[in-house]
């Protein structure tokens, strides 16, 4: 997570909206994106760790395509300023 800022959620059925207190932007997330962001909010993870967590949580086979979609998800989270590289 980008430090010093918070996320606020609301989930309806299999979709969520999430508000970022820094950018002030609100994003629409599906189950996978939601599960990934929640996992990262909890603690910093490597891509492999994140793939494992999300695939378990959403009961999806962690094949290469899934790995690729998580990688893309991470880069869009990063672009939106929701997360940053953990370096400490």
């Amino acid at each position: 997570m980008t430090s010093g800022f918070e996320l606020l959620w609301h989930t309806w059925d299999d979709e969520s909206v999430v508000y970022h207190t820094g950018s002030g932007d609100t994003h629409l997330l599906d189950t996978i994106a939601m599960s990934a962001l929640m996992a990262l909010e909890n603690k910093a993870l490597t891509v492999a760790e994140l793939v494992e967590k999300v695939s378990k949580h959403c009961a999806i086979n962690p094949d290469p395509a899934f790995f690729e979609s998580i990688t893309q998800l991470i880069s869009s989270f990063n672009r939106l300023g929701l997360i940053e590289r953990y370096s400490h």
Partner: protein, 307 residues
């Protein structure tokens, strides 16, 4: 005192000299103009509205005036001034009244962050309100005008104003802005209603305003509880249908099209969260106004649709 208590001549004299203090819902606007079309449309379409005195607090001080200089003779124009500042370029004089309407919307939308202001129409019956978002061209205004002539109270045709805190809808009850074909459709559907002059060739095509019902103007201090958010769409010859809609997507649409969602920050998110959570969200397709009215008179109060 009501606007209608003044003769048109007296009204236009006041408007020109010291200006009038017009109450529309929670706002009082101090308006000055010497442009005859503004005076005529105001006294016609706002005849049931209250006039306050110059001793009252005005939320907005606005003036519409003709451009000076040579151009006034061959290409007359109208300017809008907000308390001495001129935020917009002038428009052709023939669009003076539509300009008044949208600049008043601008005043409200830009200076009222104590409210969450959605770009949507809103109507009420028995204390429960329907919010009608939807992009232009979907028949939102037509539906709103139709319903308001068949027993629903008009809250607003353009700005749904939600009070932060209790999330009640506040009425504005101003003239309904009709475009192009809707103008004739409503003239036929509600022959008793009063219509202002049609302005041609505005950015949105032809524009005319329909006077709000006396009842909705008189009750413009009476709030309503938002209960349904319905995205209407007029599709010719299509069967009527009301279908559940994703709440999260409704949230995002309403937020992106709100006037001040992002200015409110966290407060905006919380308000919208509360609104979406407490409303039933539907898509609505109609091709006939009478059928649409019938459907609205039996809107479901739980998340199921009666066939």
């Amino acid at each position: 005192m009501k606007v209608s208590e003044l003769s048109p001549a007296e009204f236009s004299k006041r408007l020109k000299r010291r200006g009038i203090y017009l109450k529309t819902g929670p706002f009082i606007s101090h308006i000055r103009s010497s442009i005859p079309a503004v005076a005529r449309n105001l006294s016609l379409l706002y005849s049931d509205h209250q006039l306050m005195t110059s001793e009252d607090f005005a939320d907005f001080h606005i003036e519409l005036f003709r451009s000076r200089g040579l151009r006034r003779w061959y290409r007359p124009q109208v300017n809008f001034s907000f308390d001495g500042h001129i935020p917009f370029k002038p428009l052709p004089l023939a669009q003076a009244f539509p300009m008044f309407e949208w600049t008043l919307n601008w005043c409200i939308a830009n200076h009222s962050n104590q409210y969450l202001i959605l770009h949507a129409a809103a109507i009420e019956k028995d204390g429960l309100a329907v919010i009608l978002p939807a992009p232009p061209g979907t028949g939102k205004s037509t539906l709103c005008a139709g319903l308001s002539s068949r027993g629903w109270r008009l809250l607003s045709d353009e700005l749904a104003i939600l009070r932060l805190g209790d999330m009640k809808l506040l009425p504005l009850a101003r003239p309904i802005n009709l475009k192009n074909d809707s103008i004739d459709i409503m003239r036929q559907y509600t022959p008793d209603a009063t219509f202002g002059q049609t302005s041609h060739d505005t950015a949105k095509g032809d524009v005319a305003h329909m006077k709000p019902s006396t009842d909705s103007v008189i009750r413009s201090d009476e709030t309503a509880t938002p209960t349904w958010i319905i995205f209407p769409k007029y599709v010719a010859n299509e069967n009527i249908s009301l279908t559940l809609r994703s709440k999260a997507q409704t949230f995002i649409y309403a937020a992106e099209n709100a006037f001040n969602y992002s200015a409110l920050g966290l407060k905006g998110f919380q308000a919208m969260e509360h609104l979406i959570d407490s409303c039933h969200c539907y898509d609505f397709i109609y091709s006939d106004l009478d059928q649409a009215v019938e459907q609205f008179n039996s809107l479901p109060l739980s998340e199921e649709i009666t066939p």
